[in-house]
C-alpha cells in the first residue's frame, strides 16, 4: 500500500482514529509521518509496566480466599496493598513472602528471566536466614517498645546484640 501523503513510498505506519463514531484511517510512510508530527506512542517505562501488572494481579481478598492466610511480611509488616501503591517492597524477606505474586511480575519485567546469573557477593549469604532473623527481632523490638513492654524489649535487644556479633 502506498503512502497517502507522498504517494511514493510504501506505507509502514497505519493510524486509526475514532471520534464521534467516525472512523478515520491514515496510511503513511515513515518520512511523511515524521513530517506530520506523528510519533509512535512513547515507551512505557519499566515502573509503569510494573504498576499496570500489579493492578491486574489478584487482590489481597482473592489471595486470602486461596491460601487462607493474609499476606503480611513478619519481618517488616508490609502488605500486598502497600506494595501495589508504589511498587516498592518493605524488606528483603518480602521476596519470599510475596513470591507467588511477584514471580510472574518479575518474569514479565525482565523479559522472561527468572533467576540471577551475575555477580555473587564474596561473603556467602548462607546467612539469609540470619539476616531475616535479625530483621524479625528488630520488628518485634519496635512492637514491644510501642506496647511499653520494656522487659521483653530488653530481652530482644540482647538477642539482637548476640546475633550481630
Amino acid at each position: 500500500m502506498f503512502c497517502q501523503a507522498c504517494k511514493k513510498n510504501e506505507a509502514t505506519i497505519h493510524l486509526t482514529e475514532i471520534s464521534d463514531g467516525n472512523r478515520l484511517e491514515m496510511h503513511l510512510c515513515q518520512d511523511c509521518a515524521v513530517e506530520q508530527g506523528i510519533t509512535a506512542k512513547s515507551q512505557m517505562s519499566l515502573n509503569e509496566l510494573l504498576s499496570s501488572l500489579l493492578a491486574a494481579a489478584p487482590s489481597d481478598e482473592e489471595i486470602r480466599g486461596q491460601s487462607g492466610a493474609d499476606m503480611v511480611c513478619p519481618n517488616c509488616g508490609e502488605t500486598l496493598d502497600q506494595f501495589r501503591k508504589d511498587a516498592l517492597l518493605g524488606c528483603p524477606n518480602d521476596y519470599q513472602v510475596f513470591e507467588k505474586v511477584l514471580a510472574p511480575l518479575i518474569q514479565k519485567a525482565h523479559e522472561g528471566a527468572t533467576a540471577h546469573k551475575g555477580k555473587v557477593p564474596a561473603r556467602a549469604p548462607a546467612d539469609t536466614v540470619k539476616q531475616n532473623r535479625m530483621l524479625a527481632l528488630k520488628h518485634e523490638l519496635a512492637e514491644a517498645v510501642k506496647a511499653e513492654d520494656y522487659e521483653t524489649a530488653a530481652a530482644l535487644r540482647d538477642k539482637i546484640n548476640q546475633l550481630e556479633r
Binding site: E78, L89, Y95, A109, H110, H116, Q131
Partner: protein, 374 residues
C-alpha cells in the same frame, strides 16, 4: 572541600576525550545495593535511615580508593548546592529532592559517587568520558568488593542483589551512555532511532534523566532489564554491539549532511554563532542547543576532516585575539555548557539569581567567549 573548588571548570569525564567522544559524551555504570538486616529505604523511619547513613558513610569514607573523597550531607545541603550536584551528574534528581537523612560520598575528581539512601541504601556510580563502559565496570566492581568486606548486602541466590523495586533486581546494574545526536535530529531520523532503541528494550531519556526532554540533542541510553544476564555480558553487549551501531548511524547522518544538506548545516552553525556573539538574554535551553550546533561543527572537523564555510568560521573565532584561551575547542564548548547551567551560574556568581538575571549573566559569559568582550 568546597563546591566552588570544582564549579569553575568541567570535570574529566566531560572534557570531550575518550573513545568515540564525537558521539559518546560519557559512559556510566551504576550498581544498586541494600544492607542485609534492614528494611528497604522507602519503609524506613528517619531514625533507621540515619542509622544506615552513618554505617555506610563510615565504611565509604574509610576506603582506600587512591583518590580524595568528600562527604556531602544531601538532606542538609542548600537547594542550590543540590541542584549544582545534579547538573554535574554527581547525584540524581531523585536524591536531591528526596526525603530524610541521606548523603553522598564523592571523589574529588568526580568520576565516582556513592549515593546513600536514594531509592536503595547504596547506589555506586563511576563515570568516564567517551565509550568506556568496560573500564567503568571494572572500577565500580572493585569498589563494590571493597565495601563488601565491611558490610553484608541483601542477596538471595535466586534473585541476586535485592532491591526496593523489583525492576532493579539481580545485578542491580544500570549501564548507560550519554550520546550527542545532532545529525540524526537534523536529518529527521531521531524518531526512528528512538523507536529502534525502545524496541531493543533500552530506556531513552534526556540530559538529566527520567522525565527530561532531549535538551541540546543529548540522549541517555540505558538498559532496563537487570535480571537473568551477567554484568559483564550486559556491558559487552553495549560496548561491542549496541553503541557502536548507534555511533555509526550518527556518523552516517553527519556524512549525509555534508553530502546533501551542507547549507542547512552551515545555516544552523552560523545562526548559533551570531546569537552566541550578540544575545543579551538567553535561556539555558537555547544556549545548550546553540552550543550543540557548534559542537557538531567542531567534531565534524576533528573527526571527519569536514570543511564548510560554517565549520571554518568556528575556527576563525578568537583568531588574532590576544587571549589564547578563546580558541574554540570541544573543551571550551563543554565548559561553557556546564558553566551556563542555572546552578553553576549562581554558585560561581556567589548568590542566588532571578531567572531574568541568570539569562543576562549567561548571555554575558557567552558573548565574552564568542564576541567582543563587553
Amino acid at each position: 572541600m568546597k563546591l566552588t573548588d570544582i564549579s569553575n571548570d568541567v570535570n574529566e569525564w566531560f572534557g570531550g576525550t575518550g573513545p568515540a567522544a564525537d558521539v559518546v559524551i560519557s559512559s556510566r555504570i551504576r550498581l544498586a545495593r541494600n544492607l542485609a538486616g534492614y528494611k528497604f529505604l522507602p519503609r524506613c523511619s528517619d531514625h533507621e535511615k540515619a542509622e544506615i547513613l552513618e554505617k555506610l558513610k563510615s565504611v565509604l569514607m574509610s576506603l582506600d580508593l587512591g583518590e580524595k573523597v568528600f562527604y556531602l550531607s544531601v538532606d542538609q545541603a542548600p537547594l542550590l548546592d543540590r541542584n549544582f550536584l545534579v547538573e554535574r551528574h554527581l547525584i540524581s534528581r531523585n536524591h536531591a529532592y528526596g526525603k530524610g537523612p541521606r548523603g553522598a560520598v564523592i571523589a574529588q575528581r568526580e568520576f565516582f559517587t556513592a549515593m546513600i539512601n536514594e531509592e536503595d541504601h547504596l547506589r555506586l556510580q563511576v563515570l568516564r568520558g567517551g565509550l568506556q563502559l568496560a573500564a567503568c565496570f571494572e572500577q565500580v566492581n572493585r569498589i563494590d568488593d571493597m565495601i563488601e568486606q565491611h558490610i553484608e548486602y541483601a542477596f538471595s541466590p535466586m534473585y541476586g542483589y535485592l532491591t526496593a523495586c523489583p525492576t532493579n533486581l539481580g545485578t542491580g546494574i544500570r549501564v548507560s551512555v550519554m550520546l550527542h545526536l545532532p545529525a540524526l535530529k537534523m536529518t529527521s531520523q531521531i524518531e526512528k532511532f528512538l523507536n529502534a532503541a525502545r524496541d531493543l528494550g533500552l530506556a531513552v531519556r534526556g540530559l538529566f534523566g527520567e522525565g527530561t526532554e532531549a535538551t541540546g540533542d543529548f540522549y541517555q541510553l540505558s538498559n532496563q532489564v537487570t535480571l537473568g544476564i551477567s554484568e559483564r555480558e550486559m556491558v559487552e553487549q553495549f560496548e561491542k554491539n549496541i553503541i557502536p551501531e548507534i555511533v555509526e548511524y550518527e556518523h552516517e547522518a553527519r556524512r549525509k549532511l555534508l553530502r546533501t544538506d551542507s547549507n542547512m548545516l552551515d545555516d544552523k552553525i552560523s545562526r548559533a554563532m551570531a546569537l552566541l556573539k550578540s544575545a543579551h538574554l538567553i535561556s539555558s535551553q537555547e544556549a545548550l542547543l546553540l552550543l550543540s550546533h557548534l559542537r557538531l561543527g567542531i567534531n565534524m572537523r576533528e573527526h571527519m576532516g569536514a570543511s564548510t564555510p560554517g565549520i571554518d568560521s568556528i575556527y576563525s573565532l578568537g583568531a588574532g585575539r590576544p587571549d589564547e584561551s578563546a580558541t574554540v575547542s570541544i573543551r571550551t564548548i563543554n565548559r561553557l555548557f556546564m558553566l551556563t547551567l542555572p546552578a553553576h551560574l549562581q554558585i560561581n556568581y556567589g548568590k542566588a539569581l532571578e531567572p531574568s538575571d541568570r539569562d543576562a549573566l549567561r548571555a554575558k559569559i557567552l558573548r565574552s567567549t564568542f564576541g567582543h568582550p563587553s
